[in-house]
């Protein structure tokens, strides 16, 4: 992106909703056909713009949850009860509607096969969205990069992409789920919040120089990043993205 080419403006373009997938009670994936889409890298995001009849507009950013290799662009949106844009996207938007967006945006919180690994993805809640793009890219390129996803969710019901993640769609990816509030009696995964001890187990040895991506609410991201740096991981190998409602 930092080449010598003249910057090309990211124009607003229209995508048509081809499918809406209910991921959880609060979260939907919007599958879009964007005829003029020029491709993206896994981890990038788009700006979405809504326009009311009187011309009033609102814009927000959403991570792209589909791989560059996927046929459609997918955005996964969590409904924020006091939000302005997300309730529209989860509750009002229907198949066949058009959605205005521009992107792709951001060039740092991206992973592509050439960046190597080992690759550690740490997600809190809806922060898992950009990692779906990375995992699907990993699969599509038949990557041999050792990859782990550590995903913290309140309960199984709140798990986004639960079917994909639990049913072995990403064959070869080590998926670890931490349930923080509620878990089945026979739950084999981690119970409770992601803590330093769990990170120490999952994050490889600092000498292996894993490339770490953390995405979630601010407190989650801060805690995970500090634990890893405190454990000896190179801060410059730890990339972070904050997600969800503003706050703190």
């Amino acid at each position: 992106m930092a080449g010598t080419a003249l910057p090309r403006r990211l124009n607003w373009q229209l995508g048509r909703v081809v499918e809406l997938v209910g991921e959880t009670d609060r979260t939907k994936s919007i599958v879009l056909n964007v005829p003029d889409w020029q491709g993206h890298r896994a981890g990038q995001h788009v700006d979405v713009r809504l326009t009311a009849e009187d011309g009033y507009q609102a814009q927000r950013s959403y991570s792209i949850a589909s791989a560059p290799e996927d046929p459609h662009l997918v955005l996964t949106v969590e409904r924020l009860d006091d939000g302005e844009v997300s309730p529209y996207l989860t509750d009002v938007l229907t198949r066949g509607d058009e959605l205005e967006l521009r992107g792709p945006i951001g060039g740092y919180f991206v992973w592509e096969a050439s960046l190597g690994g080992p690759l550690l993805l740490i997600a809190g809640g809806s922060g898992v969205a950009p990692f779906r793009a990375m995992l699907r890219h990993w699969s599509a390129t038949h990557s041999s990069v050792p990859t782990r996803l550590l995903y913290s969710s309140r309960s199984l019901d709140d798990l986004i992409y639960g079917a994909e993640l639990l049913d072995g769609y990403y064959d070869g990816v080590d998926v670890r789920i931490a349930l923080t509030r509620q878990w089945p009696d026979d739950w084999q995964g981690h119970r409770g919040r992601i803590d330093g001890e769990l990170l120490h187990q999952v994050a490889w040895d600092p000498g292996d120089r894993p490339l770490v991506y953390i995405c979630g609410p601010t407190g989650f991201v801060e805690a995970a990043a500090q634990a890893l740096v405190g454990d000896g991981h190179d801060p410059r190998r730890v990339r972070t993205e904050r997600f969800g409602p503003t706050g703190t």
Binding site: M1, P7, R9, V92, I105, Y108, P235, T240
Partner: protein
């Protein structure tokens, strides 16, 4: 004219003075945190602030020396490229004019650099004449590390990624060289009133 989003009415904010909100922004009472990597925690006795690069003589201040410089207490509106705007934020810090008065330079640009490796580029004219500070208090309290403490650049008339967190120095340069986000697709200048979010805007 953008197409109408069927069934979208919007939750219009009652902002006292809408002329203070740049296009595409919404007002928040929160102070969201955004950064590309872990929060650095440099001990204050190892902290210094340096003006170097194309200057007659490089100058540095320790933390104590920096706090002893004459300070200002600006109240400003800040605008993040991720769409939030926060009005009437109160800061305390040293004006960049004051810091630059310690050196002689013919440079026209600078790169602000931070603990953790972050950089951002600015034209000198965008940080002089009372337009920028190195701030160490927010809302009357020491600036929290999540928000860039112990000290961050404050350039409120540009998108907030230009207000480098954890700033440790300014390197003056004759030519403009893109910083961190500027090489990752964000606009080189970042004027929120012109909605200069991304390259080409």
């Amino acid at each position: 004219m953008a197409p109408i989003s069927r069934g979208f009415f919007g939750r219009r904010q009652r902002v006292e003075d809408p002329s203070r909100v740049p296009p595409g922004q919404y007002v928040t009472g929160d102070f969201p945190v955004l950064s590309a990597g872990p929060t650095p925690h440099t001990p204050l006795d190892e902290w210094s602030f340096t003006i170097g690069g194309r200057v007659d003589e490089q100058v540095s201040w320790t933390w104590e020396e920096f706090l002893a410089l004459p300070s200002e207490s600006p109240t400003v509106d800040i605008h993040c490229v991720t769409k939030w705007t926060k009005l009437d934020t109160t800061w305390r810090g040293v004006s960049v004019d004051r810091l630059l008065s310690a050196v002689t330079t013919e440079a026209a640009y600078l790169t602000a650099w931070s603990d953790g490796g972050y950089t951002t580029n600015l034209a000198l004219e965008d940080v002089t004449d009372g337009k920028a500070w190195v701030a160490y208090e927010f809302g009357g309290e020491p600036l929290e590390s999540e928000h860039g403490g112990p000290a961050r650049l404050l350039v409120p008339h540009l998108y907030f990624w230009k207000s480098a967190k954890w700033v440790r120095g300014l390197t003056l340069t004759p030519d403009d060289a893109p910083g961190f986000w500027e090489t990752y697709g964000y606009h080189n200048h970042g004027d929120p009133w012109l909605e200069q979010r991304y390259q080409g805007d």
